[in-house]
């Protein structure tokens, strides 16, 4: 049996967890799920038993407590492998599980075959490079890269069983003590259907005026490259990329961005990429769908004017 940690946001099972449940079936064994605190309907996702951990302290997120619960359940069920989604929480809980069990962990996998030894494909460089690896372990610990493995429905009873873990004070030392709500305003980078992004080619902080103007006309969010945040032209919250935000809009407009792999790691989920660049040989020309060659300082205002004209 393979055990999968299933995360929920606002009472709904998160897609990356459903993707992890799909990949878990590669082991060709029954799949059990662990839910923290609240039950959820997993009857379409190939789950034999959904174990619901119940403990007064599981009300707010405590990563060591989650690792302890996962550990206790994996041992009591004698799970042959443990998986989770490669989300922030999934990765951090599995890292803590690997530390406390002394087992190796393969993060952000996109394919697994059961072996032994288990062979797998995992992401490096934020997905810009793949690694094929062998995982020599009596209980493979694996996280599944989000939004790569398609969710495949598989109707199963998913019987619900309650589970009462034992938690110590040290499991609860690290826990969320407060949630500060984001100050609203503007369109969020992750949710925008269109993102207009500027790179070093924009030239200055003031240069972003024309990027903002086009974004405003399109109801788009403004993004940028790391060259821009390092220069202090935009806040890091606008940065798209491996060490910034990962986005998947309908359209991504990259103005004066060369297309470094670390930038593209953040926007390759976009349905369409338009590159506006003065260099017809810029690397971004090999990962964009459309290109306009020339000076963005002429092209971007011309697009804004054309949109206004067409209204």
């Amino acid at each position: 049996m393979v055990l999968v940690l299933v995360e929920q946001t606002d009472g709904k099972v998160a897609d990356p967890s459903l993707q992890a449940l799909t990949l878990a079936r590669s082991f060709a064994q029954p799949v059990d799920a662990l839910l923290m605190g609240t039950a959820a309907d997993l009857t379409q996702h190939g789950v034999s038993v959904a174990h619901v951990a119940e403990h007064v302290a599981l009300g707010s997120f405590a990563p060591d407590a989650w690792a302890a619960v996962l550990h206790q359940l994996a041992v009591s069920l004698n799970a042959s492998a443990v998986l989770a989604a490669g989300t922030e929480r999934g990765n951090e809980v599995m890292a803590r599980l690997s530390a406390r069990t002394g087992l190796p962990l393969a993060a952000n996998c996109i394919a697994v075959s059961p072996g032994p030894p288990v062979t797998l494909t995992r992401q490096r460089w934020g997905g810009s490079l793949l690694e094929e690896a062998r995982l020599n372990s009596e209980r493979p610990l694996i996280t599944v890269a989000p939004h790569v493995v398609p969710i495949e429905p598989a109707p199963m009873p998913a019987a619900i069983e309650r589970f009462a873990p034992e938690l110590t004070d040290s499991d609860l030392l690290v826990r969320v003590v407060e949630r500060v709500a984001a100050v609203g305003g503007g369109i969020s980078l992750t949710e925008a259907k269109v993102v207009v992004s500027g790179g070093r080619g924009v030239g200055s902080k003031e240069g972003f005026g024309m990027i903002e103007e086009l974004a405003g006309l399109l109801g788009a969010a403004v993004g940028c490259s790391r060259a821009v945040t390092s220069a202090g032209w935009r806040p890091h919250t606008d940065q798209v990329g491996q060490t910034g935000t990962k986005i998947a809009p309908e359209v991504y407009i990259a103005c004066g961005i060369s297309g470094a792999t670390q930038h593209m790691a953040g926007c390759k989920g976009a349905k369409r990429i338009l590159a506006i660049n003065s260099d017809a040989q810029a690397p971004i020309m090999l990962s964009a769908d459309y290109a306009v060659v020339g000076d963005l300082k002429e092209i971007v205002p011309a697009i804004s004017a054309e949109i206004r004209k067409s209204r």
Partner: protein, 254 residues
């Protein structure tokens, strides 16, 4: 206070990743190197905390002899001294890296006292194992908070903030602690020329641990499909604007 920052030397791959002939590594012959932006923020935060409170800041890396360049970069930002765990250039996995770092931390602490904080990147830029910080923290028996965008020392505790969907999650843990951080935590300073000069004279302690076998064993690397297509050119200069608007309309966003 005593603060340690852990950094890893990685290539700056630019627009296209090229592999070595045996596909087991990136061909770095024509590339520059750096540390991850996450780790650079860990270095900057260490320097700021020591500037504010006084004490000793240390940077450590496990890497080839050339990784001394990244240690010097960290010292140019203001770190006082460095520990270099030298390798022969072979990669170490997360488990073995954590073990080597833990041993070096214990040795330094035995000589100079405990580190109040140890900073890691949330994940390394190249291998992205998402684990070394948590492993070191567990072995040292210290609380570990991950993925931080804000860190503030409050007496004998540290208040930590994580960016999450819809806001920030706050943690408060006692010192000593292990923190993994992300770019955006701060805006690292640009190294000054005098900073670079001073860095070239700061001490680097060298050690050569031997590499245990990895249980997560790299077989080969593969550049994913999708790189290497060609963009459809909609035109050049301002004259391309109507074609762009047409494309946006077809995409259903106008």
């Amino acid at each position: 206070m005593r603060i340690l920052a852990c950094i890893k030397r990685v290539p700056i791959t630019g627009g296209r990743i090229v592999l070595t002939e045996d596909s087991r590594a990136i061909d770095t012959r024509h590339l520059g190197f750096t540390m991850s932006p996450h780790e650079e923020c860990g270095v900057e935060e260490s320097v700021r905390i020591i500037e504010a409170n006084g004490g000793d800041s240390v940077v450590i890396t496990l890497g080839p002899p050339e990784a001394v360049e990244q240690l010097r970069d960290a010292m140019a930002l203001g770190i006082d001294r460095a520990i270099h765990l030298q390798t022969d250039g072979q990669e170490w996995d997360g488990e073995t890296t954590a073990a080597a770092l833990t041993e070096a931390i214990r040795a330094d602490e035995a000589a100079s006292g405990p580190f109040d904080l140890v900073f890691f990147g949330n994940e390394s830029a190249d291998s992205g194992g998402f684990q070394v910080g948590a492993r070191v923290a567990f072995t040292l028996g210290r609380p570990c908070v991950t993925g931080l965008k804000r860190v503030a020392i409050e007496g004998a505790s540290v208040r930590c903030e994580q960016e999450v969907e819809g806001g920030r999650d706050v943690y408060v843990v006692p010192l000593p602690a292990v923190l993994t951080v992300k770019e955006g935590l701060n805006l690292p300073r640009y190294p000054s020329v005098p900073g670079r000069m001073r860095a070239s004279r700061k001490p680097v302690a060298v050690n050569t641990p031997s590499r245990p076998d990895s249980r997560l064993e790299l077989v080969r690397l593969v550049v994913p499909e999708g790189q290497g297509r060609r963009a459809e050119v909609l035109g050049s200069g301002a004259a391309a604007a109507p074609a762009v608007v047409e494309m946006l309309r077809r995409a259903g966003v106008l």
